[in-house]
């Protein structure tokens, strides 16, 4: 199963190192392959180094593609993570 959804970065610091590390942790909980499309870039969501190359600041919209048996669950977890600002206060 393949699901695609756009997620908006709402936390103040953007997808900085700590937030990106949280994202990797969540993506790693699922078997699905998760790819992030941003402009011409395609990045593996399980790669912290890849996420750093996105240099995604607050207000950036990223397109997530989850591909695998647990794609639906993976996307739901990612969505929650973004909505909760990666567990950050602001």
């Amino acid at each position: 199963m393949k699901i695609t959804e756009k997620l908006l970065i709402v936390n103040k610091l953007g997808l900085h190192l700590r937030a990106a590390a949280e994202l990797v942790k969540v993506a790693n909980k699922f078997k699905s392959q998760t790819t992030i499309h941003h402009g011409i870039q395609n990045v593996n969501a399980k790669s912290l180094m890849g996420l750093m190359t996105l240099a995604a600041a607050k207000g950036t919209e990223l397109e997530f593609e989850c591909d695998g048996a647990d794609a639906k669950e993976a996307m739901a977890a990612l969505k929650e993570l973004f909505e909760h600002r990666f567990g950050e206060k602001e």
Binding site: K12, H16, L17, R18, M49, A55, K58
Partner: protein
């Protein structure tokens, strides 16, 4: 011996004198070796072993960082562990080794180089700097593969040195010994870079972003690092060294007396009270502010919100930043300066035209009045945040009365809109203007009728009055705060404000220069706003300087013909104990 001065970013305060130690992060090169098919399996095992060893080292560093720098700084090594789990290390490298039968060092080195190039090309400073973290982890794996182990070059030095490096990685800063390393100078980095943050928490003076420190400085050169001013002197003459030794001793004594000064007011021995506030450039400085005993913020720069981005910050984002400011300053006032961009600080998304002479062009309030769409977003955010604390607004680069009227009208418009929308905000926020253009100083008596306070911006006031760019070596001598023309403009501004029963502050560098404090005090300045690191020193001077004497100095100074005469009057009339401190 030559004496050369190099400038950089004043990242961490303090003064140090000592020999340079040039630190070259081990440049790791990996040669390519083709594996025999039967070697692949052992190569993969060897690689896995290096990864495991690296992980153990990072865990150990994390523990040491917690001890040495605190929990917050140690968290970087948590991220390093996750970096080590990256598919690049765990999947890509083993795959290439198996497929192409190449040695692990070479494969890993190639993969890291590729990343290095991508990271270096990023526009955002924060993310660009993260390339250093990736390099740090990657090089550690490489060193383990090559059996080079941890050299910890910075740990076992046999003498006190000043560290000069292109950049320092988190591993470097944890392993370095503060017993022997007394200060940092680096080619790269800004106020928010890793080195700067670590230097501040270790209390080591640091000048970063020097561009060519590693080129201009040789191993063993005698250096003076002035982390307060952001300059480094290379092989200075002996009398300069002597002068700096005294400055250093004073500074060290200050740091010790800092605690005592923190809660004391900025009041002269004869009871004249002034306000001593902080200039804030980045939010991180807010925490340092209270530690240094500032009473509020005399200049909160908002440019950081607009830098390194494609679009202007939203109202909500700005509101959150200003609200945080209001919370952190508590009962003390915080003066927010509206956007001061243009001139030297270009923003790709606001830069409308290519100007021949940007310093005399569309910048600061001029840009804001031309682009009310951008201006109003900021003003609305400020008015909303003002409901949470004593925030004031200050408009930069005012040159005429009509600019003040126009800016105030837009502010009123924002207040009306917020009211209509039923938003929480504070009406009647105090409004001030910066006096940094000579025309504004000359008509200060007119401008003060429309505002609640003035803040004198001396950097621009001097440059515009003397028509001299202080960055231009050939005319830098004209940049002279004690020039009678400048003193008259300042006195006119102060007198105009006082005559109208209002107060006047100064947020330019002049207010943070210890030698000028007695004069400015005597001229009647009500508020001194300076960078956080110099606040204790300014407070000490104020507490040693009788107001009556200061007034006499000012009265004499404004009648003098040259800045040399002014300088002599200050030096010859301050109390003896202040004279030894200042001159």
């Amino acid at each position: 011996m030559s004496d050369k001065i190099f400038y950089g970013v004043a990242a961490s305060g303090g003064i140090e004198i000592g020999p340079a130690y040039l630190y070259h992060a081990q440049g790791l090169t990996a040669s390519r070796r083709l594996l025999k098919p039967e070697e692949v399996k052992t190569e993969l095992a060897r690689y896995q072993e290096a990864l495991a060893k690296t992980r153990a080292q990072i865990v150990e560093l994390e523990g040491r960082a917690k001890e040495k720098l605190g929990e917050e700084h140690a968290s970087i090594f948590g991220a390093h562990q996750i970096l080590l789990d990256d598919p690049l290390f765990t999947e890509e490298v083993p795959q290439v080794i198996s497929k192409e039968h190449m040695n692990a060092e070479f494969v890993l080195h190639e993969a890291l180089e590729k990343f290095k190039t991508i990271m270096a090309s990023l526009n955002d400073e924060y993310f660009r700097e993260r390339g250093g973290d990736i390099r740090d982890v990657g090089n550690r794996v490489l060193r383990n593969l090559m059996g080079k182990g941890e050299k910890e070059q910075l740990k076992n030095l046999d003498r006190e040195v000043i560290l000069v490096a292109n950049d320092l990685t988190p591993s470097d800063t944890v392993t370095l010994s503060t017993e022997t390393i007394k200060a940092f100078c680096t080619d790269v980095g800004g106020k928010t870079s890793h080195v700067a943050i670590v230097a501040r928490s270790l209390g080591l003076p640091a000048v970063v972003g020097m561009q060519n420190a590693t080129v201009n400085i040789q191993d063993g050169d005698l250096l003076i690092v002035d982390g307060n001013k952001g300059l480094v002197l290379v092989n200075p003459q002996s009398h300069i060294i002597e002068q700096y030794r005294r400055l250093k001793d004073n500074y060290t004594a200050f740091q010790k007396s800092l605690e005592a000064f923190k809660t004391l007011p900025a009041v002269t021995p004869d009871g004249h009270r002034v306000t001593l506030a902080a200039n804030i450039e980045i939010p991180q400085e807010l925490d340092e502010m209270n530690r240094h005993g500032a009473e509020g913020i005399g200049l909160y720069r908002t440019e950081f919100l607009y830098m390194n981005r494609e679009e202007s910050p939203t109202e909500e984002e700005q509101f959150q930043a200003y609200k945080e400011l209001a919370m952190k300053t508590g009962v003390n006032p915080a003066i927010i300066r509206t956007l001061d961009l243009g001139g030297d600080k270009f923003l790709s998304h606001l830069n409308e035209s290519n100007e021949q002479n940007p310093f005399l062009g569309l910048r600061a309030i001029r840009l804001c009045l031309k682009r009310p769409d951008i201006f109003k977003v900021q003003l609305r955010a400020i008015l909303r945040a003002a409901a949470h604390g004593p925030i004031k607004i200050m408009f930069p680069m005012i040159s005429t009365l009509s600019e003040v009227m126009e800016a105030k009208a837009i502010l009123q418009e924002c207040a009306d809109e917020l009211k209509k929308e039923g938003q929480v905000f504070r009406a009647g926020v105090e409004v001030g203007v910066m006096i940094e253009i000579p025309s504004a100083a000359v008509i200060a008596d007119i401008l003060i009728q429309e505002v609640d306070f003035f803040s004198i911006g001396t950097n621009d006031l001097i440059q515009y009055s003397m028509a001299a760019d202080r960055g231009n070596e050939s005319v830098a001598y004209l940049y002279d705060p004690l020039n009678p023309a400048i003193l008259r403009l300042i006195q006119m501004t102060v007198d105009a404000a006082h005559k109208a029963g209002k107060w006047v502050g100064m947020c330019g560098e002049m207010a943070g220069d210890p030698q000028f404090v007695p004069l400015l005090l005597g001229m009647g300045l009500d508020e001194f706003s300076a960078s956080v690191s110099v606040i204790p020193e300014i407070k000490k001077i104020i507490r040693m300087m009788p107001y009556e004497t200061a007034k006499k100095i000012a009265q004499a100074a404004t009648k003098l013909k040259t800045s040399d005469e002014v300088f002599d009057v200050i030096r010859d009339n301050v109390p003896p104990e202040l004279k030894t401190l200042l001159f």
